[in-house]
C-alpha cells in the first residue's frame, strides 16, 4: 500500500536535509560509539590546524576518517599512505557535507596484539576521566617513616626494595602487603592490597610493583581495578613495574613512576649518608652564623664604648654646668643693672626732695625768722616791732636777736 493512499490521508513526511542528516548522525553515533577499524591509510593529510584527515581502505571499501588535534597530538608514530593501521573511534556524520566518517581517537600500526589494543583503550578511557591528571598526584614525603609495599612476597622485587631500604633509610618501617602480581585475580588482589595499606595508620606512601616479565606477566598492572585503587589511594603511590622500558597503566595513574622496583626504593628513601652530611652542614652553618653574631656583637660593643654616645652624659653635665654659670652671670648682670637704675632713681628723688626742703633753702643762705617767745614763723616785717626778740635759724645753727628797726 502506498503512503499516499493511507486511511489517514495525511501527506507523506518530508524531512528537511539537516533534519535527516541529524537523525542519521544520531543513529550512527548510537550504533557505533566506539569501534576498532582496520585498514590501509590513504590520502593522509595533516592540516596546519593540527587536525588530521585520511581514509582507511581495503579491497572493497573506503572510510573517511578525521582525527582532531587533541587526539592527533598523541600519535606515537607517523602514519603515511599505504600502511596498515587499527583505528579506534566512533562513526559520525559530517553534517555540512552529508557524509559519514570515522572520528578516530587512536591510531595504532596494525599487527599489535589484542592486549596492546586493550591497553590503549583503557589508557584512553582513564585519561578522558582524568585519572592521569597531575592534580591528583600527591607529593612524596621527604622522610617516610612507614612505607607500604605491594608485591609478591617471594619475588626479587621485594628483596631488592628491602635491601635498598636497609642501606639507605633504615629509620623506616616497611609494611609489606603480599599480593600475587600475575595471573587471574592478581589485579584484584593488588587493588585490595593498596586499599588495605590505606587503612593502616601512618603509612605515608605505597610502592606497587613487580620485577620484569612479558607483557602478559605485567598485565595485572594494566587493569582498571589497579588503576582505580591507585587513583583512590590517600597516600602517594609509586609504581615500579618490570623494567625501564615497560609502561603500564599503573605508571600513568601513580604519582611517581619508578623504572624498576629497586629504583622505586631509591626514589622514596632518602640516603642516610646524605642526611648525615646535611646535618653536619647545617650544624656548621649554625656555628658559623653564631660565630658571626658574636663577632658582630663584640665589634659593636667596642664601637659603642668609644662612641660619642657613651661620652655624652659627661658632656651633658659639663654643658649644664656651663649653662648654669652663664645664667648666673647673666642674672647677676641683669640684677646689677636693675639695682643701678634703682639707685640712681632713688638719688634723683632724694635730690628733688632735698631741693624743695627748708634745709636746702637755708643752705643757700636763707634763714628762718621766728618771733620769740612763741616761735611763730615771721613772714612779714610788720609783725615785728623795735626790740622784739626773734630767733634766726640758719642752715647750721641758730641765733637769738633783737629787732633794731622795722621797715614796712
Amino acid at each position: 500500500m502506498r503512503h499516499s493512499e493511507s486511511s489517514e490521508s495525511s501527506s507523506p513526511k518530508v524531512y528537511r536535509v539537516s533534519e535527516i542528516t541529524r537523525q542519521l548522525r544520531l543513529l550512527l553515533e548510537d550504533t557505533f560509539p566506539e569501534i576498532w577499524v582496520e585498514g590501509e591509510v590513504s590520502n593522509y593529510k595533516a592540516h596546519p590546524s593540527g587536525h588530521v584527515y585520511f581514509s582507511l581502505k581495503d579491497e572493497a571499501g573506503e572510510l573517511r576518517c578525521v582525527m582532531f588535534r587533541s587526539d592527533a597530538a598523541t600519535l606515537r608514530f607517523s602514519p603515511s599512505d599505504g600502511i596498515k593501521v587499527k583505528a579506534l573511534g566512533r562513526v559520525t556524520v559530517y553534517e555540512k557535507r552529508g557524509y559519514y566518517q570515522l572520528q578516530a581517537f587512536l591510531l595504532l600500526p596494525a599487527g599489535v596484539g589484542d592486549l596492546a589494543l586493550a591497553f590503549e583503550m583503557l589508557k584512553e578511557k582513564l585519561k578522558e576521566e582524568g585519572l592521569f591528571g597531575d592534580e591528583h598526584k600527591k607529593p612524596l614525603p621527604q622522610f617516610p617513616m612507614k612505607i607500604g609495599v605491594v608485591t609478591a612476597s617471594t619475588g626479587a622485587a621485594l628483596r631488592d626494595i628491602l635491601n635498598i631500604m636497609a642501606r639507605r633509610w633504615p629509620l623506616a618501617t616497611v609494611l609489606v602487603r603480599p599480593s600475587r602480581v600475575q595471573g587471574d585475580g592478581a589485579a584484584v588482589e593488588i587493588a585490595e592490597a593498596i586499599d588495605d595499606l590505606n587503612r593502616c595508620p601512618d603509612v605515608e606512601l605505597i610502592i606497587v610493583g613487580r620485577g620484569g616479565g612479558s607483557l602478559e606477566d605485567l598485565w595485572a598492572f594494566n587493569e582498571e581495578v589497579v588503576a582505580r585503587a591507585i587513583y583512590r589511594s590517600e597516600v602517594p603511590v609509586v609504581s615500579a613495574v618490570g623494567h625501564e622500558v615497560d609502561y603500564t597503566i599503573a605508571d600513568f595513574v601513580a604519582g611517581v613512576r619508578a623504572p624498576t622496583p629497586p629504583a622505586a626504593a631509591e626514589i622514596v628513601a632518602p640516603d642516610i649518608n646524605e642526611i648525615v652530611f646535611r646535618l653536619e652542614g647545617l650544624f656548621s652553618r649554625a656555628l658559623r652564623a653564631a660565630g658571626e653574631r658574636v663577632k658582630t656583637f663584640s665589634e659593636r660593643m667596642e664601637a659603642l664604648r668609644r662612641s660619642y654616645g657613651l661620652r655624652r652624659p659627661r658632656d651633658i653635665v659639663l654643658e649644664r654646668w656651663q649653662y648654669l654659670d652663664d645664667m648666673i652671670r647673666r642674672m647677676n648682670t641683669a640684677m646689677g643693672h636693675r639695682l643701678e637704675i634703682g639707685a640712681s632713681a632713688v638719688s634723683a628723688l632724694q635730690s628733688r626732695l632735698e631741693s624743695s626742703s627748708p634745709e636746702a633753702t637755708l643752705s643757700r643762705g636763707y634763714c628762718i625768722c621766728r618771733k620769740l617767745p612763741d616761735r611763730k614763723l615771721v613772714t612779714r616785717s610788720s609783725e615785728l616791732a623795735e626790740r622784739t626778740p626773734v630767733s634766726l635759724q640758719f642752715a647750721q645753727g641758730s641765733a637769738e636777736c633783737e629787732v633794731v628797726e622795722v621797715e614796712v
Binding site: 612476597s153 628491602l162 609489606v176 642526611i275 646535618l279 649554625a286 653574631r293 658574636v294
Partner: protein, 75 residues
C-alpha cells in the same frame, strides 16, 4: 608520634640555622639556638646510626581482618 619526630627535628634544625643566619635574633638567643642545634644534630645522628630497618607483614585472614606480623630487618 615518635616516627614523625625525625622530620620535625630536621625542620627545627633548618629553622634554627635560618634564624641565626638571618641575624634577626639577638646574641644570647643565637648562642642558645646554637646549643639547641648541637643537641638536635646529636639526637638525629644517634637515631640514624642506631636505626635498623623494620619489616612488617600485613596479612588478611579469611574474614578480611588485617593482621600485622613483625619480621627481622634484612641486612
Amino acid at each position: 608520634m615518635k616516627e614523625l619526630k625525625f622530620e620535625e627535628q630536621m625542620k627545627r634544625l633548618e629553622e634554627i640555622v635560618g634564624k641565626i643566619e638571618s641575624g634577626e635574633v639577638g646574641l644570647d638567643d643565637s648562642i642558645e639556638l646554637c646549643q639547641e642545634a648541637s643537641g638536635l644534630v646529636k639526637a638525629l645522628k644517634k637515631k640514624l646510626s642506631e636505626a635498623e630497618l623494620k619489616v612488617q607483614e600485613l596479612s588478611k585472614d579469611s574474614d578480611g581482618e588485617l593482621g600485622l606480623s613483625e619480621d627481622e630487618g634484612e641486612e
